[in-house]
């Protein structure tokens, strides 16, 4: 949608800086909290194998116990320690999120670079393709893809990655287009440097801030999509568990053990929220710092 072009106006600039200044302290506090949370969750997930956690031992005698000192998150329907289950579930959820994001970002950067650099027909065709792919509701797309592939960890990483690169591609393409017109790129050939090399050496670093911001959004989407798919039984399969699949199992015991559903959901919420807040804060500093 277009907004009316505004003549840069001292008044508007001053208004904006005032308000940014006012909200700045709020923003940085929440950004710090977000980073802290992610670091903690990430660290625990990473060192999980080294911790005294036992997600697999079943003991029907102690099933559905609410959180206690012995079992911080209680026990699940098979008497397993839920805290351990949740931690290992987090490992999977975060792994999927990060890998899917990596795949999507890689594809997006490459496609964006090609489209922006080649221009003309190639650009047109690629962008039409991007539009086309973006137009299909992604839930439907992702579910359809999982029908054709055997469900599992790698399938889901692949499917999410392959269908969420479009936004990054658009951003990178925009950066590439602007950069292509810059003098040092146009004249590179006169000093004997291949244009492609110059583009590669400069576009990616220049676009890095925007790519990073897009990447945080990508992780959020990936985590939410994975949990939805696993919740539907189309994602992570047992014996592996992710927060989403834990929620699926928790559905059965909702009445007796609501905490089984409460905990993984809260963690998904907080993780996604943290990535979003982080992304917002990064986007803020990118535009303020005047990069690109």
């Amino acid at each position: 949608m277009t907004t009316t072009g505004t003549t840069p106006n001292v008044a508007a600039v001053v208004d904006a800086t005032t308000l940014v200044h006012r909200t700045r302290s709020f923003r940085s506090v929440s950004a710090l909290l977000a980073v802290a949370f992610l670091v903690i969750v990430g660290a625990v997930a990473l060192i999980a194998p080294l911790l005294p956690l036992d997600p697999t031992t079943t003991d029907l005698a102690i099933r559905w116990q609410p959180p206690s000192a012995a079992h911080w998150f209680g026990t699940d329907e098979l008497g397993r320690d839920y805290f351990s289950r949740v931690v290992y579930g987090g490992r999977i959820s975060l792994t999927v999120g990060i890998l899917a994001m990596a795949a999507a970002t890689a594809i997006g950067v490459i496609v964006g670079l090609i489209a922006g650099y080649a221009g003309g027909r190639v650009d047109d065709a690629l962008m039409r393709f991007v539009d086309f792919l973006s137009s299909i509701p992604w839930m439907v797309l992702v579910i359809v893809a999982s029908v054709f592939l055997k469900p599992g960890l790698w399938t889901i990483i692949f499917v999410i990655g392959v269908f969420s690169w479009m936004a990054t591609a658009r951003l990178v393409r925009a950066e590439t287009l602007t950069l292509r017109e810059r003098a040092f790129v146009r004249y590179a050939k006169y000093i004997g440097v291949r244009r492609e090399l110059v583009m590669w050496r400069h576009v990616v670093p220049d676009a890095a801030p925007t790519i990073i911001v897009a990447a945080t959004a990508s992780i959020s989407t990936a985590i939410l999509t994975e949990s939805a798919l696993s919740f539907l039984g189309l994602g992570i399969q047992p014996p592996m568990a992710s927060w989403g699949s834990l929620l699926e199992t928790a559905q059965g015991s909702l009445q007796t053990a609501p905490y089984l559903a409460l905990i993984p959901g809260i963690l998904i919420l907080l993780t996604v929220l943290s990535f979003n807040v982080l992304g917002d804060a990064l986007r803020q500093s990118v535009s303020e710092g005047g990069a690109s």
């Binding site: 009316t4 505004t6 003549t7 001292v10 008044a11 001053v14 208004d15 800086t17 005032t18 200044h21």
Partner: protein, 278 residues
């Protein structure tokens, strides 16, 4: 000095500061003191950042959020309004710089004008339409009915600015403030608009304050001039005197930097001068 009853507006010690980008406050107007004689056309010149636009905004009460405005004394027609001005408005209307962006693109000209007429003249919708039409005629728009039903983007720059002036007239001001009224226009149109302002001033006994960075504009239509730099008034007086014998070094700088003014008083800035401006 001008006798008191001939002074429309007298401002003493106006200060305005704004929140700075990195905290703290920035002074945009400092101890600004001036008198505006009734019925005169006063030019306010300075470069970007001199505070001239902020001066108009301070008078109209539309400073940016977070701005603080303070003064020692303000007299309106000789009456002391220092305390009441914060709540009341001056009997003034402002013509803004860029008529393209100054109108709501989704509202027709007639709508804009009628809204102002209703607000300031306390009339109903139909009467307001009639007043809007009259206002368009007053600014010499040849086909007022057509213009009333047009959207802003459908008019030329000059017509838009005339419509903006018409809108200002509908507020029945005694004081007309114009912020760079011709900067966004082509050279030939500039001349027409300035002539229009001059004519309206005479017809309605308006007092006009024109902010501009263009000395040619001042030379063309202004009686008096105030020179501003860094939030302060550095010099003021009658245009002929100030241009002929500038007292302040900054005024001299400005005059030296400007291309020679055209001989005829009615012909304002040439195209090159417009390009040299901010």
């Amino acid at each position: 000095m001008t006798p008191a009853e001939d002074v429309l507006l007298s401002v003493d010690g106006l200060d305005v500061d704004l929140p700075g980008r990195t905290g703290g406050r920035v002074k945009v107007l400092e101890d600004v003191t001036f008198e505006v004689p009734r019925g005169r056309v006063v030019g306010i010149v300075g470069e970007s950042g001199s505070g001239k636009t902020m001066l108009l905004r301070a008078l109209m009460g539309i400073l940016p959020d977070g701005a603080e405005r303070d003064w020692r004394r303000v007299l309106l027609r000789g009456e002391d309004v220092t305390r009441t001005l914060a709540r009341r408005r001056l009997p003034a209307a402002m013509v803004f710089q860029d008529p393209m962006t100054s109108f709501n693109p989704l509202v027709r000209i007639g709508g804009h004008l009628a809204e102002v007429a209703q607000r300031f003249q306390k009339v109903g919708r139909r009467q307001a339409q009639g007043l809007a039409r009259e206002a368009l005629i007053a600014v010499r728009i040849p086909d007022p009915d057509r213009v009333l039903s047009r959207y802003p983007h459908e008019l030329s720059g000059g017509m838009r600015q005339r419509a903006m002036i018409a809108m200002a007239l509908l507020a029945q001001p005694e004081l007309l403030l114009a912020d760079e009224p011709t900067t966004a226009l082509d050279a030939t149109i500039q001349a027409q608009i300035l002539a229009l302002l001059r004519t309206l001033q005479a017809e309605r006994s308006l007092t006009v304050l024109i902010v501009t960075h263009d000395l040619g504009v001042v030379a063309a239509v202004c009686d008096d001039v105030m020179v501003m730099k860094d939030g302060r008034i550095v010099e003021s007086g009658e245009v002929e005197r100030v241009f002929a014998e500038p007292q302040h070094p900054y005024t001299r700088e400005l005059l030296d930097a400007a291309p020679p003014a055209p001989a005829e008083l009615a012909a304002p800035a040439s195209a090159e001068e417009k390009g040299a401006g901010a």
